[in-house]
């Protein structure tokens, strides 16, 4: 029965008190005049105090209103401390991006493209992820290989990604059969198998090899290093394979591994200024490299 006064009403009161009326407070508070009218009546009721003399000229503070203004200004000073705290340079906003292993590597290499600009946004990359993470805000953005279908998530298509077989120059000189179908039976293979669900590329490889890959690793960097060191052949997305000067593509693009990349975020986070900024930069970066992703830049 005894309704409490609302702290947000106090913030609105400051705007009305200083403006001398509702009309001038609309700008300062970003709330409409009818709403301010109701909120001021509500505040008076819940505080059991008459704060304003209302006239056609606007709202004039009563003596009680003047006293409340003094007290509200103390609240406001403390609220400004919070604003200051959040805008403190050490408190740069942080956007977490969950992406597949190879995509994470790509982004890491182009991180300067994402960090540029006036606002000091920090970026966390979480390599490997599941969908549940965005709803729980374990990440703000996800780069996925399919459109989001869960309620509450929004997505935009980025690029198409192609995969192919790659081996180092040295390896391929030693084993010329790497360039044809004998590669599956006569060459050593390196497989990338992170924890969690089996990657499509790993499943594909498992189908075509007569025996288990010679080297299986959960770390994409290790897989890449092993390939560069001539330990065997491996399947890579073209945006990684074609970008490596020391790797040579050994096959055409693997049709069954082709997919689209989607940038996914929580519906609410789309309104977040920092998440929005980073989204735009990721989209620009990846769309600007669409040919690399599409396997059109074979080295």
């Amino acid at each position: 029965m005894n309704e409490r006064w609302n702290w947000e009403d106090l913030r609105l009161f400051l705007g009305v008190a200083r403006g001398g009326g509702l009309a001038k407070a609309v700008g300062a508070t970003q709330v409409s005049a009818p709403t301010l009218s109701r909120r001021m009546y509500s505040l008076e009721r819940t505080l059991s105090v008459t704060l304003f003399d209302r006239s056609r000229d606007g709202y004039e503070l009563t003596s009680d209103g003047v006293e409340l203004l003094r007290l509200a200004e103390a609240v406001e000073r403390d609220a400004f401390q919070i604003d200051r705290w959040t805008s403190n340079v050490d408190r740069a906003p942080r956007v977490k991006i969950a992406a597949g292993a190879w995509t994470s590597l790509f982004i890491a290499r182009h991180i300067k493209d994402l960090l540029g600009g006036d606002d000091d946004i920090a970026i966390d990359i979480i390599a490997g992820t599941s969908q549940a993470d965005l709803l729980r805000r374990e990440a703000n953005l996800g780069i996925r290989n399919r459109r989001p279908e869960i309620t509450g998530l929004a997505g935009q298509r980025l690029v198409q990604v192609e995969f192919a077989v790659y081996g180092s120059d040295a390896f391929c000189k030693t084993f010329p059969q790497a360039g044809d179908d004998r590669r599956f039976s006569e060459c050593d293979w390196i497989a990338f198998a992170p924890r969690g669900p089996v990657l499509p590329s790993a499943a594909w490889l498992s189908d075509v090899l007569l025996q288990r890959p010679r080297f299986v690793c959960s770390s994409p960097n290790a897989v890449l290093e092993a390939a560069l060191a001539g330990a065997g052949l491996c399947i890579l997305p073209c945006f990684i394979g074609d970008a490596e000067a020391r790797l040579r593509r050994q096959s055409g693009v693997l049709d069954s591994l082709r997919h689209d990349q989607w940038l996914v975020s929580h519906d609410d986070d789309r309104r977040d200024r920092h998440v929005s900024t980073v989204s735009k930069k990721i989209a620009k970066l990846m769309r600007g490299n669409r040919d690399l992703f599409a396997g059109k830049l074979m080295n």
Copy 2:
């Protein structure tokens, strides 16, 4: 686009932070768990800060959350100053009652019945009023002679009121015709005519008198004093006339002036604890004197 954080969310944050989770904060904040969940996500988004590590055990503050808790506690201390200010004894809540002139007089005489009790409610009586005043909060309660029909007002019926002709003992000994119909042509009259719309009793008197009343006044006290001094006859509601030892009723009750008294308040004010308290006391006072109002206690 850059949404501001909500001061009320901060108050809810305090509850969640101290409770270590949503469940314990429900009681402290009087807000449901789903709403608290959404409000905490909203606060994190608008501050661009992760405040909680969420687990099945509840919400544990992050290091940023601990810092915000410290800042929020300063805001809370200021808010407590406001609570203290409104509950300060010098700031006793005040309820304004708008009532007709005679009803105001009746209430003034029984004011002790309304002022008793633990809570120091101050009462302002505004004698004479129009309906617009309750919507504009010029009064919290109105005692009216008809049911409220304007949207936003609520009413409860109190008592039925009768009117009659009264004269002083002295006057009636000098003019025995005061006791019969010759009173309209052979006696002097005193009329009560306050500013504003013509009162029903004044209109009635105007219809039956052959000439203008000898004494017309806008002050009910002056009218009453004049009658007591033997200046003439007047029409009074029974709850005033019968309560005066020196006045004698000279007629039966005047059927055409009979009406109900209603206690009217603004819909919102009904939830105000002080207005509610005073409403109940007024209802008790008037219903406890229903016979006096109804003219059944002729002296």
